[in-house]
Symmetry: none
Subunit: 112 residues, 2 copies
DNA sequence: CATATTTGATCCGTATATAGATCATATAAC
DNA sequence: GTTATATGATCTATATACGGATCAAATATG
């Protein structure tokens, strides 16, 4: 028995993950790499790679990003230095921001 | 007991996830949203949101992407992402999803 | 053609990520 | 100052994602 926790995902989210998985698969085929090869290099099982390429939303983000990097897909920026620099800048900026937010009992509205 | 499975992640991978988490937190603060509010909208617990914002690599990619979308972070629309290039280049092919090298002989069985 | 390799799709045992609760501390509002 | 709320950290029970194995079908190779 189980109170199956069914999590809901937005359409955009599902599309984004499916796209990423498709890109991974395409890049892997272009590089003539077998699923087993990529899985070994990523330190994951072939079954997990299958789920990732199918766009399964319940995979570890670390595994997905690792595979993407292995097949040559850069996640955020072309070179690592820029990414790292951006990360540091963001952290510095975060230290200047308040650590907690306080609502003024006003309605919030999404714009997407 | 239990042979703890320690998975290795590349530095680029760790940085990317940490950056994404930092961006999420920054965006959440800028929008004056509490952790509980974002967690509720994403359908996740506040503890999971904490781990996501800390850049934990073992979180579900679906949860991470969902939170990112909620706080206003577009995953693939940013101009400075290399992933966008792939998106535009392969958009036509991806509309034919799922595209696989091998043909499927049986009915597609997606459970998500 | 025959043979080898790769992939898709299950199933199962187990490690673990998650939700939920709790508490102390920090911060905001008053 | 006091009070209310948000955050960070920890713990437990449970749902589940994972690795590994198996097998059939598809594809590649000879």
């Amino acid at each position: 028995m189980s109170k199956a926790i069914t999590r809901t995902y937005s359409r955009y989210n599902r599309d984004a993950t499916a796209l990423l998985g498709a890109l991974i698969r395409e890049a892997r085929n272009e590089r003539k790499l077998t699923a087993q090869e990529v899985a070994d290099r990523a330190g994951i099982s072939r079954g997990l790679l299958q789920r990732i390429e199918k766009g399964n939303l319940k995979c570890e983000i670390g595994a997905v990003f690792e595979v993407a990097t292995i097949v040559g897909i850069k996640l955020f920026d072309a070179d690592d230095t820029t990414l790292t620099k951006y990360l540091h800048q963001t952290r510095e900026k975060l230290t200047l921001l308040p650590k907690s937010v306080r609502k003024k009992s006003k309605a919030v509205h999404d714009d997407f």
